[in-house]
């Protein structure tokens, strides 16, 4: 039997130290556990401050006793290495464990145990926990804003269709892979634009647009039987001819009838809101801000002084002001700059403002990527006889953009998180809707539930985005 030295535990008396230490730690955790989950204080016979600190002291001594280097027990070693390297670390680990145990019961009871979700009025919320009934009743409003209930299928349908069209890239065969960039950069945004402005917004324009759809579909079908030599001209001339023919010669009366029969109700943009508006605004700003930012970043590195200083001015201006003043500008100052009879929709103004604002940040991110490329890449491209645009599209940008994926993803995340600011111009996306619901006299006092709900939603969206960007980054990482 070796001599026991409790100040310096060693391997020789491993079991003694181990059992004493584990019992002490378990005891301390047990005390806190009982106290927090069952509200029983088994050490209440001790004076106040001692009973408060006792678990901490017990656990601390216990952890000290089991801190034995190279004990040979795998589990013990990994504990010592990860949470118990020295006294200070042991203390902090204990503190974290205790705080988690202490805070679990109130959180659980607020979220689940004492919460109410049944019923459809405020009266069912009698418990001390959250009132999820409030979220349930207001769910439609939080998702769609003031959009008429009967018409909400239009939003759902558009979003599902767009989500489906967005995933096409994963199913594309090798033959179509090379067109994917074109599809995502040009075709998809146009489709999305039509969906949102003619389908969600509704109105007679949609039926004008329907001639276009029919013309496009017919011409694509015929297009398969046309020799490739003439395809170029064909796709320019035939759809337009078909469109005109359809609209004014063949189907005119019939389609007008159809239009009258099932006309989509026009919903003004002021009624849009909720999470769907968040998506719409961030989607469009995302589409617009990227090309603008790309051109600004190229402009900033241009050899032409006027373009260069114009780009610098644009970038520094938008980066220098807070978004809220930009939105103020778009709502109170911008109408002064337009002719009196000209009116631009609120939502459009907001989208333009946010796009320009975020474009400046995108530009700076892309500039970082452009600067990080070695000069040799430019020289090599030039020596192959490439012009400015060819060099950038084929050599420079693919490499530069690959480098700045995390930065661009961060900017897009910031964009999504900035969308709630559109409350300044009176558009109510989800946070704005929450504030509106909170002031409803029938549903006073549920601010907390609303904000927690929105926080969880935003957290899921933003966290998924950041994880996705991390995956992209790993996927396109090339060794240099």
């Amino acid at each position: 039997m070796n001599k026991l030295n409790f100040l310096q535990p060693d391997k020789n008396n491993l079991n003694t130290y181990l059992y004493t230490g584990v019992i002490l730690v378990a005891l301390s955790i047990f005390i806190v556990f009982l106290n927090s989950f069952f509200n029983k204080d088994i050490i209440s016979f001790l004076p106040g401050s001692i009973s408060f600190f006792l678990p901490l002291i017990l656990g601390f001594i216990g952890l000290h006793l089991i801190r034995i280097d190279y004990s040979g027990l795998k589990f013990l070693d990994s504990i010592n290495k990860n949470i118990n390297t020295n006294n200070f670390n042991a203390f902090l680990s204990l503190l974290i464990v205790f705080v988690v145990i202490k805070s679990l019961p109130p959180i659980l009871s607020w979220f689940i145990l004492d919460a109410n979700i049944a019923g459809d009025s405020k009266d069912v919320c009698t418990g001390s926990g959250a009132c999820w009934t409030y979220i349930k009743i207001w769910f439609n409003r939080f998702m769609y804003g003031m959009y008429p209930n009967a018409e909400q299928w239009r939003i759902n349908l558009s979003f599902i269709a767009l989500a489906f069209l967005g995933t096409i890239g994963f199913f594309a065969t090798e033959k179509f892979k090379k067109y994917l960039t074109l599809y995502y950069v040009v075709v998809y945004p146009v489709i999305a634009f039509f969906f949102i402005f003619f389908f969600i917004s509704g109105g007679p324009i949609f039926f004008d647009f329907s001639y276009g759809i029919i013309a496009a579909v017919i011409s694509i079908i015929i297009g398969f039987f046309i020799p490739p030599k003439f395809k170029m001209y064909y796709f320019i001339i035939v759809p337009i001819t078909l469109y005109i023919l359809l609209k004014y010669v063949f189907f005119y009366e019939e389609l007008i009838e159809l239009g009258k029969l099932e006309a989509l109700e026009w919903v003004e943009t002021g009624a849009w809101g909720g999470l769907s508006l968040t998506f719409i605004v961030s989607f469009f700003c995302l589409i617009f801000c990227f090309p603008i930012g790309l051109f600004l970043s190229l402009g900033r590195r241009s050899d032409f002084p006027i373009i260069k200083y114009f780009s610098i001015g644009m970038i520094e201006f938008w980066r220098g002001v807070p978004l809220i003043t930009v939105l103020f500008m778009s709502s109170v100052m911008f109408p002064m700059f337009l002719p009196e009879d000209m009116f631009i929709d609120k939502l459009v103004r907001v989208i333009i403002a946010i796009s320009l604002f975020e474009a400046a940040y995108v530009a700076e991110v892309i500039r970082g990527g452009l600067q990080a490329l070695p000069r040799g890449q430019y020289d090599a491209a030039k020596s192959l006889g490439m012009g400015y645009w060819k060099m950038h599209i084929l050599v420079i940008l693919p490499q530069a953009l690959k480098l700045v994926i995390p930065g661009i993803a961060n900017t897009f995340l910031a964009l999504v998180k900035d969308t709630p600011l559109i409350f300044v111009v009176g558009l109510l996306e989800i946070v704005g809707m929450l504030n509106l619901a909170k002031t409803n006299p029938e549903w006073l006092g549920f601010a907390m539930e609303g904000y927690v709900f929105a926080s969880v939603l935003f957290f899921i969206i933003c966290y998924a985005m950041s994880k996705y960007s991390y995956n992209l980054e790993q996927k396109y990482k090339t060794e240099r």
Partner: protein
């Protein structure tokens, strides 16, 4: 200069001039129709509105320019408070992210992921409308340490009542100037003779002794005024005396610092990780103690990476403080671009002044940062 180079530039110029011309022409027409003339003369007019919380004296009889100052000072106040707390939290969390203790590391990670992925506006609303509304009424408040009162109406803290405050401030300024000289002297001495001077302890000593002397001989006198509860009406209570920090200020500063701290933490982590391992090993191999390694080798290199992005975050915090408008904290945007604009209807002048204020702030900081980056850049020979 050939035509190929000139054409795109001229086109850009033409488009820009056309757009600006179109805008300013319309603006003139519109202002004529509304019967207002462009000009900044309104700044000296009487403002006739009141501001809830201001650092300088302000009421309706003061000018619009003074309203602008009130807003600007409030913006600066909340930014400075936010920056201080964001730095403290950010550095602590950033270091915790580097800890080899799994629990600490994960806790810090969860904090960062959680707070950076929720919109700042939502956080401000959460603190203001949900969390701070749960605080007790003034009459039910238990004092913290006997003198601080955290109530639904604001945070009441004791105030210092000073005699000869100016002498006290002069003594602190004198101490700071002396410290700067001592630092320069110590650096010279180290470069020439290799002897280190204990600058830190001398500085702390000076910072304590000089203000103390001003108390003993300068006639400086300070007493503490503790807030006392006072009944306004049957059920309305408030505290009198001391300083009142309104809930708007608290929730704004809280949200700003918790949100920005996540970004600062990432900056700190990236900075410390950016110092190559070889540097630490080399420093340890020439016999420096761990503390010396941190102070003389790691920190100087890490700071070079940390400071530029952190300054950017400070700038972001200052710009984000304009979200104050959402919870009616009277900052520059709310007081000037909100109330004053509503009263005068001078959209172009007021929005341009507000934007120029932020713009000049951020441009001056970015110029300073460019200068600083050049100064600290590693000079390769």
């Amino acid at each position: 200069m050939n035509i190929k180079k000139l054409l795109p530039q001229l086109l850009t110029l033409l488009v820009v001039i056309l757009i600006f011309g179109f805008f300013s022409f319309n603006a003139q027409v519109n202002m004529e129709n509304r019967g207002i003339t462009f000009g900044y003369g309104f700044l000296s007019q009487e403002s006739s509105f009141d501001v809830q919380f201001s650092l300088i004296e302000f009421d309706g009889s003061h000018s619009y320019f003074r309203a602008y100052l009130v807003g600007l000072l409030n913006t600066i106040l909340v930014s400075v408070i936010g920056i201080i707390f964001a730095t403290i939290i950010g550095v602590v969390v950033g270091i915790a992210r580097l800890s080899n203790n799994y629990l600490i590391n994960r806790t810090a990670g969860v904090y960062v992921e959680f707070f950076r992925n929720i919109p700042l506006l939502l956080q401000i609303f959460f603190w203001y409308f949900a969390a701070l509304r749960a605080l007790p009424l003034p009459q039910d408040t238990e004092p913290m340490f006997g003198v601080f009162f955290l109530t639904i109406k604001g945070f009441f803290v004791p105030a210092f009542v000073w005699n000869n405050l100016d002498i006290f401030i002069y003594s602190i300024i004198a101490a700071i100037i002396t410290i700067i000289f001592i630092r320069i002297y110590a650096r010279k001495k180290q470069e020439n003779e290799g002897i280190q001077t204990p600058v830190l302890s001398i500085s702390i000593g000076l910072l304590i002794i000089l203000p103390l002397l001003s108390f003993l001989f300068g006639g400086v006198d300070a007493s503490i005024e503790v807030p006392v509860i006072k009944q306004l009406s049957q059920s309305g209570f408030t505290y009198e005396g001391g300083i009142k920090l309104p809930p708007e200020l608290i929730s704004l500063a809280l949200a700003l610092s918790l949100y920005t701290a996540t970004f600062i933490a990432e900056c700190v982590r990236a900075g410390v990780q950016g110092v190559s391992k070889g540097q630490k090993e080399a420093a340890a191999s020439i016999g420096l103690t761990p503390n010396q390694v941190l102070k003389l080798v790691v920190m100087p290199q890490a700071l070079r990476i940390i400071i530029p992005p952190t300054t950017n975050q400070y700038l972001n915090l200052t710009k984000n403080s304009s979200l104050a408008a959402a919870i009616a904290y009277p900052d520059l945007v709310l007081v000037f671009a909100g109330t004053a604009l509503m009263q005068t209807g001078r959209a172009i002048e007021i929005v341009s002044i507000t934007m120029l204020t932020y713009l000049s702030l951020s441009i001056s900081i970015s110029i300073f940062m460019n200068w600083y980056n050049k100064k600290i850049a590693i000079k390769e020979k």
